[in-house]
Symmetry: D2
């Protein structure tokens, strides 16, 4: 694990964009990248979008979402892909042919499809204050699981409400790449920003690997880079 | 994980030798391999020794042991390296300059030394009937641990007696690369042979990752090959 | 370049088989290997066939031929694939779905197809006494060429006759992966056996890169392993 | 080869800095980078220096110069390292322990030292209007050469004068990584900017590999990325 502590969110975003762009520039042939929604990567995507928009020389880069919150009834793309379109795919003008969607209809074949595409080269992830990564929240998936359907408990539904305009749209399940799918990628990039992540980053670095904080598993990957800002690193010894 | 089930111990040994030799032949520059003692690899080492003995073109291959059982009082090399010398290093005539010993004196710097040497390219491991790998027995190390000293409980000492001619030589501790050290290697190769391994191989394949059977962690490595014979695979569905 | 000199053809064949098998065992995901016809690999294929025949765990390995001599009129598969079927694909019982043919109909799309398949991981090649590799004979292709059609001069046709039962079948052209296609592979493995190769191996090792002996270009690949027996190495200083 | 055409020198510099920084962020363990002096990379080094200055998390990155013009008599570091210090090492505050100098005293052991250090991961190079790369000018080294001493002809001395304040300091020889040393690196990054490079970039892309324009050899590397601005790409079909 390479742990990088930077001064602030802007520097974290610059480095994250450089890590993604650098990988794309240095690699020949098809590149498969799974990307995260949420707040952490928003500025990185802004920076990256300005550098990759309309660039034909990056048409070998393919993008995947690693989880999806579908709508219960509404006939629409799920929350994650909609989010990614808004904060990254549309501003960066990624051609539709380079966007590969995980959703409630294809999740059982998703790992096989990725293997057929050559495997994931890089996954960009955030980490939740509860230690989740992708849709692997404590108590949902097991470490051995590949891409899975997670049936939503009342507690999960309560949390998921924040993502839906209409509470009636909160579904009975969502889908996510499981821990085993994520660990099979060639490279992992984990980012965290802000004081709200200080406790989990401290646990991530120091705690043992455990299902209580699923992201602790990621420490076991041979090619993991972690970029955090000072606020997220506030509880690490020697950082402040 | 690539799971390979072969007919018998001889075929397992042939494939294991080919996996090691093939890696050595195909790779430019220094190659660092950690190798296991014990019974499982004996025949593979016989086959391999005949192919690499005295071959100058393999002088870029360096060998490491990943655990060591020292003697309590006797001034001698530990059990693991002694075993490796007998079953592999001596028959293969590996030059001393290519042998790198982990022992009770250098274990605190071992991970740093391996990093300085360029990291481990490949680790050949067995799996214990209790789910241990290297010296990571249930209840000894944690997944997050790097190379460590394990203080030996009375139960461990009882088990360790089998390795010592004189029970008085059983030490109060041994050293081992920890789970985090092993997972940092570029490639892992796990072998298991015989009916005595059938139960643990079934658990390894199907159980979740857990400290109860430490080797289950290895399933999370992106470059893991597992070679087992039919006896060791006897409880896997579809094998018999 | 890693240069390996072995005692004889049998040892060369054992190592060649181990290099191929080892690569297959150690690699996760799809593996694309281009293989050579001709006499040099015959024994290696015998050894390898016994180890891979009917092995489901190698169904991720895909095979390509890198040149093809078509028939002028006869409606049949070309000389190279026919040869490969006889000496390797059939004895090894490679499923048809894992065999990818280069021929006179698809050569213009062959490089693109290989790129789509993830690129070649490994090419096993021989070297001609005239310094040719694949179908890149002196005076035919240029180093910058990708997969190409070579129009056959009277001299080339005279040489090609040896491959055809009926001289009327010698065609006006053949197809071959060009030097640029070969150099784009991740790993190259070059083998040579016998006194008839001693002169070209000496030139290969010592001469500058030049179109006169096209194989000299291969020395520039960052992952090249060369295996030769003592007879082929007879003119290298320090070998005898 | 991945060929990237960008609008202008600023965009070229941004991408070059991102390619270097991205490689550093994504890679675990020691990273060895050979870097070029001259005008082309000046702005990229400015951008990069601001991002890497004082960053402890990049203390695993080691820098090498790939050629050196010594002084004939003056007891001072050569022209290339002095240039690199001014435009990159000093502004970026690279610790001296991460700077590895090729010079007239160590060139015979330089390839062996690099091999011992784990090989070069990445070389950043420019291309001369005459087709040279590193110190490999037409008529100096051969493609098969590793790191070499080049005796300077009167014509070379005349060209070299531009680099020296005092013409009496122009030496009788310089040293350079040879074509074979460069091709042995894992990744190559070639940059060119300005109308003065348009002719050689056109030749680089379209001509055959030849000693007349030594950089044409680089097209044969399996991991080559080329970044040029529109001016340097002016003669490439379809660019304007």
């Amino acid at each position: 694990m390479k742990l990088i502590v930077v001064d602030n969110y802007e520097e974290l975003s610059q480095l994250t964009a450089a890590a993604l762009l650098g990988y794309m520039l240095n690699t020949q042939g098809r590149i498969n990248v799974a990307v995260t929604g949420g707040n952490s990567p928003i500025r990185a995507y802004e920076i990256l979008s300005d550098k990759i928009r309309g660039k034909d020389y990056l048409n070998n880069v393919h993008y995947y979402n690693f989880d999806e919150l579908p709508y219960r009834t509404k006939d629409a793309e799920g929350i994650t892909v909609s989010d990614l379109r808004r904060i990254f795919y549309e501003p960066a003008q990624i051609p539709e042919s380079q966007i590969h969607k995980l959703d409630e209809n294809n999740y059982t074949e998703f790992d096989a499809q990725i293997a057929k595409d050559g495997g994931l080269d890089l996954i960009l992830m955030g980490i939740g204050a509860d230690g989740h990564f992708c849709g692997n929240l404590p108590g949902t998936t097991e470490f051995k699981d590949f891409t899975s359907r997670v049936n939503t408990t009342p507690e999960l539904k309560e949390m998921m409400k924040a993502h839906y305009d209409d509470p009636a749209d909160v579904p009975d399940y969502y889908v996510t790449m499981g821990p085993a799918s994520v660990m099979a990628a060639k490279n992992l990039l984990l980012i965290a920003s802000g004081k709200g992540k200080a406790d989990i980053i401290n646990k991530f670095v120091h705690n043992n690997v455990s299902a209580e904080y699923p992201a602790t598993l990621l420490k076991m990957h041979p090619n993991l880079t972690v970029i955090v800002d000072k606020d997220a690193a506030a509880l690490l010894p020697g950082t402040n």
